[in-house]
Point group: C2
Chain length 186, copies 2
């Protein structure tokens, strides 16, 4: 069973985080929800509080197959400033392991120097990232090598499905797409 880490920082975007965790778990992925603080719960940008499974410092790169970052500006800045998260991103990338980020969170990937030339993000965030290669079209998910990026709340479901396709199977992707009624995902 593939294992994916989702770190939550205060101010994370709740639709993105919860949709990604939900879709990945439905797809048979073991999802670890991590906190950066000393509590076992984190408050999102819209005051929804979600419980976490473990502290991000207790996660080893060898134990996980992918790390996925939800957006929300406050959460993203915290992920960009957190030493544990930044170290994980760099080590994951150096070992060729999968990394995902949505909405503002590609900014935190860029801070770690792991964003590839082709990426997407929430419109306007590319100005903060200030890297060539932003895919300004309407692609829900952009993938280059081991880096997957997506645009925002309304693309989180499709992003989760693409992760399932990559880590699990095309068959599971198709079954979940139908089960979730996600007719609008590419």
């Amino acid at each position: 069973m593939p294992k994916v880490l989702v770190p939550l920082a205060k101010g994370f975007e709740e639709i993105e985080a919860v949709t990604l965790i939900d879709v990945m778990r439905r797809g048979g992925i073991e999802v670890l929800v991590a906190t950066l603080n000393e509590y076992n719960e984190v408050e999102g940008a819209n005051a929804i509080i979600v419980k976490t499974d473990l502290h991000v410092s207790s996660v080893s790169v060898d134990d996980i197959d992918m790390i996925v970052l939800p957006g929300g500006w406050d959460g993203t800045y915290a992920l960009a400033d957190d030493e544990n998260v930044q170290a994980l991103l760099k080590e994951m990338d150096s070992k060729g392991k999968n990394i995902g980020a949505i909405c503002a969170a590609p900014y935190a990937l860029n801070r770690a120097g792991v964003l590839r030339e082709n990426y997407t993000c929430y419109p306007s965030v590319e100005q903060e990232i200030n890297l060539k290669g932003y895919q300004a079209d309407r692609a829900q998910v952009v993938e280059e090598a081991n880096i997957m990026t997506s645009r925002g709340p309304a693309t989180a479901l499709c992003f989760g499905l693409q992760i399932v396709k990559k880590l699990v199977s095309e068959e599971m992707y198709l079954a979940l797409k139908e089960g979730l009624l996600a007719t609008y995902c590419d």
Copy 2:
């Protein structure tokens, strides 16, 4: 500021619940997240645990403008069996106040006798509901009088937007639709 109650029962569908709460709060609606049990947190169908604001028994119909039920079968059966929720649904309807339900949850509306002739739900749930009037087409949201229903995880965002349009304004609906990148919502 309109006020909406979202009761969460163990086994609720997390994408639906969190997306509805998030979109409504972004739209300027005060959302009360209620538990049916003695704790201030509830576990969803995919093991995501969300904190709640209050117990459902402490809510008065006069204090709220709408009640919205997320799906998930276990959560839906619990909402259908809960005396507080059923009493709220009946009193809301008798006073002409708005009621919403998505996925399996229209089943809990039917238990209270408040489902209207035209409704939608997660495909196959209409067999459990066993009422004429199921809209088998692909409408994301079906509205009749004070009752709004929607289909499942992938339509939750569009359902939240329709609630904002109804309780807040067309202007807010359009701004949020653009901000969420929800190009696929009707």
